[in-house]
Symmetry: C2
Subunit: 325 residues, 2 copies
């Protein structure tokens, strides 16, 4: 099961000058407040709205492979909340939106600018999504799942941290695995101490891209970062865009797996989320780590071939066609 921010994406094309004018760091995620969201939206081009959120994209991907998966994340009782709830259920994820209660914050949205190089730059207004707390997480559901997957993006408020720590404890107490994504290098910067402690003591399967794992260990050298993480987690799944992925086992064994071929990269939003989906689907269905990484690569390749952060095609069918399942 996956815990994360429940977000609707607003995707628009933009050029590099637009990012510079608005003080954005290309490829990163920044949190924005309501007035900034309003001002940025007014400046952006016409958008496409589609459901997003990191761990929820991963849940959607697992469901598209045919896996059984639940998602926990908070939406408001508004139109974007309805869109989010509909889409995640429509793809086959078990989702019971926690009641919004008397909160007046709207559903989270992420203003995504896709530059001509297909890179995405994220500006997230968290709204009600940030109000998740321990009472929103059904611990029986956590205990019943083979893997609990949490996103680093959610590591901001004390309530959200308590919700994730409580879920991790419940998962481990039930003999299940805990997976976690570092999410974003700025996110790692904000929470390095916590993330190191999580990696050393609480995470079984860690997901990170090159810049995130390098940020965690404060090095510019990927190989050093890969060596540093070995032994901390049972598996570290390190994604390297067109260079593929490196899976590091607890004993230090490293499996380098090539990227899945992509005809044309349109929008990299969701690449890491979908890699995690493919890997976890493979892991929970008993595949070897190389096959898991190939399933991750296949899912990432699908999602970067079109606008939007969730699969357009059935990942189950694509995996069959590729001879991976």
């Amino acid at each position: 099961m996956c815990i994360g921010n429940a977000i609707v994406d607003v995707i628009a094309h933009a050029d590099d000058a637009f990012l510079i004018e608005h003080g954005m760091t290309k490829g990163s995620m920044q949190l924005i407040d309501a007035p900034t969201a309003t001002a940025l939206y007014a400046d952006m081009g016409a958008g496409l709205e589609s459901s997003g959120g990191s761990a929820s994209n991963t849940a959607a991907g697992i469901a598209s492979f045919g896996g059984s998966v639940a998602f926990v994340g908070k939406v408001a009782d508004d139109q974007l909340g309805e869109v989010f709830s509909h889409d995640i259920r429509a793809i086959g994820v078990q989702y019971s939106a926690p009641a919004a209660g008397a909160d007046t914050l709207p559903t989270a949205r992420c203003l995504i600018l896709v530059t001509p190089d297909a890179e995405r730059t994220l500006n997230t207004f968290l709204g009600i999504s940030s109000l998740i707390g321990p009472s929103d997480v059904d611990l029986d559901l956590v205990r019943s799942a083979e893997v609990l997957y949490c996103e680093g993006y959610l590591w901001d408020t004390d309530d959200a941290k308590a919700a994730m720590r409580g879920a991790m404890e419940a998962a481990h107490a039930a003999g299940k695995k805990v997976a976690f994504t570092l999410s974003d290098s700025f996110c790692v910067d904000r929470h390095r101490g916590d993330f190191l402690e999580l990696a050393e003591h609480h995470i079984d399967i860690l997901f990170a891209n090159e810049s995130e794992i390098c940020s965690l260990y404060e090095t510019d050298d990927f190989d050093k970062a890969a060596a540093a993480v070995a032994g901390h987690c049972e598996l570290a799944c390190l994604t390297r865009s067109e260079k593929g992925s490196s899976i590091i086992a607890a004993d230090g064994a490293r499996h380098d797996v090539p990227a899945h071929p992509v005809e044309k990269v349109i929008d990299t939003t969701g690449a890491g989320d979908l890699f995690a989906a493919g890997f976890l689907y493979g892991f929970t269905s008993g595949r070897d780590v190389e096959t898991c990484a190939r399933l991750g690569g296949l899912a990432a390749a699908e999602v970067i071939s079109h606008l939007g952060a969730r699969p357009d095609q059935s990942l189950s069918e694509l995996a069959s066609a590729a001879g991976l399942v």
Copy 2:
């Protein structure tokens, strides 16, 4: 300037069996009420939301060509209304959303099912959009525009009809042209008497596809329908999908213009709307009718090459590249 329903589209893939199960006629538009919209949405797959509406797509297309254009249509003070207002302004259309007042209906949405043959089937919940009336139309703006363009889809309530009839009178009194689209063959069925009277006495430039013009004159023979409309309007612009378009002048002269080549048809939503955009952009910038029809074909070709009913690429740049402007 364009008057029409202000709609946010929800686009999902579906197979033919889904349309049959839900009693839909492929390729048509049906109006649905709120409970039907809720039930259908629950059955549909995950969606992409993007701004739509027939005349508003046409306005967006004209703006994308670099034309000056305003749109009149009604949204609610809700999130989908914000999406609609943002997108139409972002593409360069002048849009002052009429105040929603004390109305409690939500912004209109159209549940669009795209089948594997790229045909679209529309299910529209009109919401507040249907509450447009004469007071929502700024007649000074109508008088200042070279062409007034109205959609047949809006021909449902007495208030909307009065709004369009008043605008047509104002346009003609100011020496301007009135354009109109028949919108949909079922729409023509509902309003044949009115549409015939409009074609004979109030419309200068008529837009229709093959089935709509055949429905208007109750014939199965396109050539007969084309002959029947000659003399009624200054120009009848008849679109025929991959067969291109036939432009019929008042004196009966017929210009058959081939379709613009399309690599792969993905989603036909917006094809007619964008044909009208290209044609009207050409017309208001003084091009001959064949060039106008080619501009229409170019815009239609762009919009059917991707999901969504509005241009993804600059039509102005495409028209330059094609040597049409």
